[in-house]
């Protein structure tokens, strides 16, 4: 079942990116999507009940807007640090505990952290995530866990779990 969902997503992406509905194009796209599904289908979603629940899409749209606002804020923050003559940076690598378990939710969280204020995900070891931070604001682990991942974690939990 989940292979079918994966196949349809790839086929729609192919049809949009080539942007023509001729028969030969659809046949080539189906062949490519079938090959990709057979090779990489085992890495896709874990359960297919979650795909048809509408509240997950609602939270995804809410999350998209919050994420966009955080990205724009992040860019102005980094731009300020670049322009300032004295380079106000205090970099360091911090350890943040994770609460979510599934693989795709963790991937989403790591990508979100990479795109927001001065943080880059380095590695995930067990239940902890290592983050390089351009300005370490405090030494208290609870404070920086809230600042790095707390904003996204509650929405991602509602979307994927």
């Amino acid at each position: 079942m989940r292979y079918v969902v994966y196949f349809i997503i790839i086929l729609i992406f192919w049809l949009l990116i080539t942007f023509s509905l001729s028969l030969s194009n659809i046949i080539v796209g189906a062949a490519v999507a079938l090959l990709t599904t057979l090779l990489f289908g085992k890495y896709s979603l874990e359960s297919n009940v979650k795909i048809i629940q509408p509240q997950r899409y609602f939270w995804f749209i809410v999350y998209l807007f919050i994420f966009l606002w955080e990205v724009i804020k992040a860019n102005f923050d980094v731009a300020y640090r670049v322009i300032h003559p004295a380079l106000p940076i205090k970099p360091g690598i911090v350890r943040v505990p994770l609460e979510i378990k599934s693989d795709i939710a963790r991937t989403m969280l790591a990508n979100s952290i990479t795109m927001t204020p001065g943080t880059i995900t380095m590695d995930i070891v067990g239940d902890e995530i290592f983050v390089h931070w351009i300005y370490v604001q405090s030494d208290n682990p609870e404070v920086y866990a809230e600042k790095v991942s707390g904003r996204f974690e509650k929405y991602i939990k509602k979307i994927f779990e």
Binding site: F13, N75, R81, I89, K90, P91, G92, N111, I120
Partner: protein, 105 residues
């Protein structure tokens, strides 16, 4: 007209990102500034193409390449950061904290 304004904003962010690539002291901070600013700048250039043409073939292709660019840039930055730490490149002089050290060796 709106598309020109959005493309100008994107090029401004690209400029700041490349300035950070020159100015910051070590490889991790360079990656911070370059990845975020240059990715957002290029995404807004592609959005300018979409606004200039509307939802015809070229605009839809530009819109589709935004998530592609987004995921490839983040995964590439993650791989580069981990690789350069494994290769033994030290953090810069201003660094205050390193929790990853006892995890690697």
């Amino acid at each position: 007209m709106i598309s020109s304004i959005i493309i100008t904003i994107g090029i401004l962010f690209n400029l700041l990102g490349c300035l950070g690539l020159i100015r910051f002291p070590d490889v991790y901070n360079r990656l911070q500034s370059a990845t975020k600013c240059v990715t957002l700048g290029t995404c807004s250039i592609l959005l300018g193409v979409l606004i200039h043409y509307g939802f015809v073939e070229i605009g839809v292709k530009a819109l589709l390449s935004i998530p592609l660019l987004f995921f490839s840039a983040t995964v590439g930055a993650h791989a580069l950061v981990k690789g350069s730490y494994k290769a033994g490149i030290k953090l810069g002089d201003k660094s205050v904290k390193d929790d990853y050290k006892e995890e690697v060796r």
